[in-house]
């Protein structure tokens, strides 16, 4: 606390030092305000993207530069601004506080706390817009970012520094994947930033609650641009999150930034652009909506070792309408990212959760960011699944007349699908995943009834942990399935399968 006499001291000093400085400042006058934008006359020196300050203390960003007029978006409520108010330049662009002080906090897109945990005493600020690292500053993505979801880590692996899009209709578990991925970063030295764009307040509150319950807030920052806030705040939110992630990346650490979701972001930007009378293009989005997302996602990178080798992984989320991935924003973001996880509505209601459509999902760089042991089990996995899908489509109306080989293929596929299912909020360690998948692709589950696959998988891991936990440890540390480990694992699975069956009287 400051004591009153200290304040008097400071004031006294200010007054004693009072020297009228003759300083010419550039100013403008508000000629129109409303819809969270303002039109300003004057300010001939203002630059595009510059932060402006209003008499009332509110800030704005220069959006349009016209002959005599400046179009400005207001970072907050416009009710305190009147026609004729004076506006001043600041010479800066919008900055947000960054660094370790932000971890564990819920903030608005300006970095101001929203969680009632008091002031954030950040040491450092970063501008929300920054140049993406160039070619020589990067290195290929080589380190995996484990999401803890078997379907993703096995089939569409994500590497640190990658940009992987999560796309799907509403209510197909897009956010759930991102949240699980954040939960799984516990103890892995990855700082997470979750940017909620245009979401309902209670949705954000429940996400924060999940993070707190599972201890994820210890390494996570939540940026909330709520649905009822000004479109300008929704517009800057992902850039603010990106700036916070960048701080970790440039300090040699790893960051994961989730943008949930960029469809709302594009809509907020469309709103601003139309209010600013920029010409509408396809789907009424402005012409630069591609650049809007490309300049954001391009900032995700894996830095070269000379620069500390830090990384920032981006998981943008896009909501499609009725599975239409060829709409404007989805195609844009698909073309910018290094792959996508496509979530299918039908799969979701068939009970395949996470509802990852393995055929349409790809990861363009992640393959090199899988540990060797995972690659050893996923090789046959992809093939089995592809064959299963083909056969399953073919045999929709009955399997009686199938030959034995085809029927076996179907059985194998169904069991793999079963193994890839995973409940929410239960990310699995990579060694656990490998054991489950190993059992499935090597056919140990083929003669188990489908509804017993998941219980078996669960109990097998429990048993393995209780009796031969060194197998899991070795997979985790050696990152490869050596013949010796494979043999022991196989042996263990076989033994436990017999136990499991005997306990259920299955001979």
């Amino acid at each position: 606390m400051i004591r009153p006499e200290e304040i008097t001291e400071i004031l006294k000093k200010e007054i004693e030092d009072y020297q009228p400085q003759v300083k010419e400042v550039n100013f403008g006058t508000v000629i129109q305000v409303g819809d969270s934008i303002a039109r300003i006359f004057g300010l001939s020196d203002a630059r595009a993207g510059e932060l402006l300050k209003f008499d009332s203390g509110l800030n704005g960003i220069v959006f349009n530069l016209e002959e005599e007029i400046i179009g400005c978006v207001l970072l907050g409520e416009d009710q305190d601004i009147k026609e004729g108010d004076k506006v001043y330049r600041t010479g800066r662009i919008v900055e947000v506080p960054v660094g370790p002080e932000m971890v564990g906090r819920v903030v608005n897109p300006l970095g101001e706390p929203m969680d009632g945990k008091g002031e954030i005493k950040a040491q450092k600020f970063r501008p929300i817009e920054a140049m993406a690292p160039g070619v020589v500053e990067r290195q290929p993505v080589i380190v995996p970012l484990q999401t803890g979801l078997k379907a993703i880590d096995a089939l569409v692996p994500i590497g640190r520094g990658q940009r992987e899009l999560i796309i799907g209709d509403r209510q197909t578990g897009k956010s759930a994947i991102a949240i699980d991925a954040i939960l799984n970063q516990k103890g892995k030295g990855v700082y997470c930033v979750y940017v909620a764009i245009g979401q309902k307040t209670n949705t954000v509150a429940s996400v924060v609650e999940i993070f707190e319950k599972y201890g994820a807030m210890e390494y996570t920052t939540v940026i909330a641009a709520l649905a009822n806030q000004a479109p300008s705040l929704l517009y800057i939110a992902p850039y603010a999150g990106c700036a916070m992630g960048e701080e970790f990346m440039y300090n040699g650490k790893d960051a994961l930034v989730v943008y949930d979701d960029l469809s709302k972001h594009a809509q907020a930007y469309r709103e601003l652009s139309l209010l600013m009378r920029r010409p509408p293009g396809r789907e009424a989005y402005p012409g630069d909506v591609f650049y809007l997302h490309s300049r954001l996602l391009e900032r995700a990178a894996k830095l070269s070792n000379e620069l500390g080798g830090g990384s920032m992984t981006a998981l943008p989320i896009i909501e499609t309408q009725l599975g239409d991935v060829s709409a404007y924003i989805p195609t844009n973001v698909i073309s910018i990212t290094d792959g996508q996880i496509y979530l299918d509505n039908d799969l979701f209601y068939q009970g395949v959760r996470p509802a990852v459509d393995v055929g349409l999902s790809v990861s363009r760089v992640g393959g090199s960011a899988q540990i060797k042991a995972m690659k050893q089990v996923t090789g046959p996995l992809r093939l089995d699944l592809a064959q299963y899908r083909e056969l399953a489509a073919f045999t929709k109306f009955g399997t009686e007349e199938l030959d034995k080989a085809s029927r076996q293929q179907l059985d194998r596929g169904a069991r793999i699908v079963e193994v890839l299912k995973q409940p929410r909020l239960k990310p699995e360690d990579v060694a656990d995943q490998i054991v489950s998948l190993y059992a499935a692709v090597n056919g140990f589950l083929d003669d188990l009834a489908l509804d017993l696959v998941q219980p078996f998988e669960e109990q097998l891991l429990e048993h393995l942990r209780a009796t031969e936990s060194d197998i899991l440890e070795k997979i985790g540390s050696e990152k490869v399935l050596s013949p010796e480990i494979s043999e022991r694992l196989e042996h263990h699975i076989k033994d436990y399968l017999q136990l499991f069956k005997a306990a259920r009287g299955l001979g």
Binding site: L11, P20, V22, K23, E24, F27, Q32, R39, F41, E68
Partner: protein, 177 residues
Amino acid sequence: MASEGIAKRYALALFQVAEEKGDCWQYVKELNGVEKALEVYPELKSALWSPMVDDGVKKSILKQLFVERVSPPVLNFLFLLIDKGRFELFAGMAAAFVKLCLEASGEMEAMVESAVPIPEELQTALAQALSKKKGKQVKLKTRVNPDLLGGLVVTMGDQMIDMSLKGRLKEIQENLK
């Protein structure tokens, strides 16, 4: 809303006429007179702005009022505004016209606000200092604004020099945040 641009274009047209005739400042005076009339008699303003009043009637009103008081080109200018339905931009055009005249004569207008009236000799000194700084002849317009508490604020176009006590106090407040 390109109204500022429109006002500027009309003002430029009138200015070019005025330049040919060679008496900008006479026109400025006349335009100010018309502006004042509109300010003092709101009925006149509403009649001229109203779409209900016939253009012919508007013109005859203007003619009766101003034919003796303004030069023919200015009257024609007013008629043109009626024809084009741009009378509501008159104030903006007058301001733009003044600016053009000042620019052409290498002069500049500066608004000086002060808490107390400024003595004559200080005004001249201030005008001289500003002229030297700007490299242009600066004309002062003064206004007394007790809100400033002390000191003065000079405004030239969209540049402002704040040397008032109010501004300084605000700065201190800002620094203490």
